[in-house]
Symmetry: none
Subunit: 155 residues, 2 copies
């Protein structure tokens, strides 16, 4: 349950402008998770979400980029989260297809974008699938291989 909730949090902060834990709590409530601010605070800490000012003069929680550093953070929580979201990775020609659990594609896509991967032409996320258009077939192949080493899919 906690895991589901934290996955949802990643999705929520990726897709919305969440400035306070109360707002996040409210969003969680809309999705059927009734937790207190205390829990939201703990979740944010465990996920190592970052809080920062935006150009528009507000604050915003975001998913941290997946660096070596952030993997070390929070007992690899983020990595785990990413892993939990992904079902499988495949490619055809120069397009990589990341299959996700329903509703997780947006969050996974945000995470992948944050990696600022090379030779990515563009990304597109539906509900349970992310498309990554790579420059060349070689790039696609390499990316699938690289993701394979990082992401533990849940089969």
């Amino acid at each position: 349950m906690k895991n589901n909730r934290q996955n949802l949090i990643l999705k929520i902060v990726s897709e919305n402008n969440i400035g306070t834990q109360e707002q996040l709590q409210q969003k969680l409530h809309e999705h059927g998770f009734d937790v207190t601010q205390a829990t939201v605070s703990r979740d944010i800490k465990e996920l190592s979400l970052i809080k920062t000012a935006t150009a528009s003069g507000n604050f915003k929680y975001s998913v941290p980029a997946l660096t070596k550093n952030s993997m070390e953070n929070a007992d690899g929580m983020i990595l785990t989260m990413l892993s939990n979201g992904v079902v499988s990775v495949d490619y055809a020609l120069n397009t990589v297809v990341v299959k996700c659990h329903t509703g997780m594609a947006q969050a996974v896509c945000a995470k992948l974008d944050s990696l600022k991967l090379e030779n990515v032409v563009g990304t597109l996320a539906g509900d349970d699938t992310v498309f990554i258009l790579m420059r060349t077939e070689n790039d696609a192949s390499r990316l699938v291989r690289e993701l394979g080493t990082v992401i533990k899919t849940d089969d």
Copy 2:
């Protein structure tokens, strides 16, 4: 004065583990800047510092790095390229000006584009100069600062 203080803040949070504004205030005091928490809070907002949990279970303020992912990738090729081509970086209002060696601006511009920097409205390269139009003046200021930390200019 404010500028000096904010520069010092960047230095302090880079070199120390600052978890609260009070700690930062204390460090500033040691360097002769006597300001209140209110000011520290404003500075943090203006600098868009990020607050996030660390592996050790504490919180920490950090400088938002454009480099963490993008520059560590690609075997530092991009970094090398930029360093070799760039002479200086400056800005006025929301436009960043990257002075390059003659004929290098196009290449530098392409490299900068490849970084997919946030809040970039557009870029334009001449022969020895790249213009980067940022969303806001703050964005410009931050980009210059960030580039400054990454790019070794050849003077």
